[in-house]
């Protein structure tokens, strides 16, 4: 998919801490969500962060690729 990027999104306390709603990144080969986090945020993987790829909850080890929407967020507090 020529020109497709990974769309990274941040929510809640994480969005506030990073001071932005998201990033656009190029995957360039195989990449885990955890590795994408390091690339996008420049920090090591925090314990309490959750990941969704294309709006489905996945493990941090899951692969991501260009064209994906990858969201990072703190544990949910609904209900």
């Amino acid at each position: 998919m020529f020109g497709a990027m990974i769309c990274v999104r941040y929510f809640a306390a994480l969005r506030e801490r990073l001071g932005r709603e998201g990033d656009q990144l190029e995957a360039r080969g195989e990449l885990s969500a955890q590795e994408l986090w390091r690339l996008a945020v420049g920090e090591s993987w925090p314990e309490q962060i959750m990941v969704a790829v294309n709006q489905r909850l996945v493990s941090p080890q899951s692969c991501v690729q260009d064209g994906d929407e990858v969201a990072f967020f703190p544990p949910m507090t609904g209900g």
């Binding site: 999104r9 929510f11 809640a12 306390a13 969704a52 709006q55 489905r56 909850l57 969201a71 967020f73 703190p74 544990p75 949910m76 507090t77 609904g78 209900g79």
Partner: protein, 144 residues
């Protein structure tokens, strides 16, 4: 029948349930278990902001309701959740299930509520005169 939804404005639990039940076949169910969670007035919290993940949150609610119908012996689900600004006393969440069997109705209602609290993309931020804070993840059994 399954109905799930996000509500940006306040809603009253009872009319929602009455309208939903009016659309069900009369006499088709014997048991309804319903839970409503409201924002408490304690701790000097003046308001709450409920953030969600547009698109994902709606789909998670719908899938949760469908999963409950598969997993338990229930026929109907009503599942509503507030987003945006919530004031003390206002309803945040409404979970209801209709069944021929009271045990299934209770179990499904409880299951959906517990899942909502930890697995659906909602985040609460509380505002007090002293400042704001993100609500920590719930401990089991304690109403947030």
């Amino acid at each position: 029948m399954i109905h799930t939804g996000l509500r940006p404005g306040r809603y009253a639990a009872c009319p929602e349930v009455a309208a939903f039940e009016a659309a069900l076949e009369p006499g088709s169910w014997g048991a309804c278990a319903l839970f409503t969670g409201a924002m408490r007035g304690a701790h000097a919290v003046e308001r709450m902001e409920l953030e969600h993940y547009p698109g994902m949150t709606e789909r998670q609610l719908q899938e949760l309701a469908e999963e409950a119908v598969q997993r338990y012996d229930i026929q109907h689900v009503l599942l509503l959740h507030r987003v945006g600004t919530v004031l003390p006393g206002e309803t945040i969440v409404l979970v209801a299930s209709w069944s021929a069997h009271r045990a299934a109705a209770f179990q499904a209602c409880r299951y959906m509520l517990e899942t909502l609290k930890t697995s659906v993309t909602f985040w609460k931020k509380e505002y007090t005169p002293a400042g704001a804070r993100w609500v920590p993840p719930p401990r089991s059994g304690v109403a947030a």
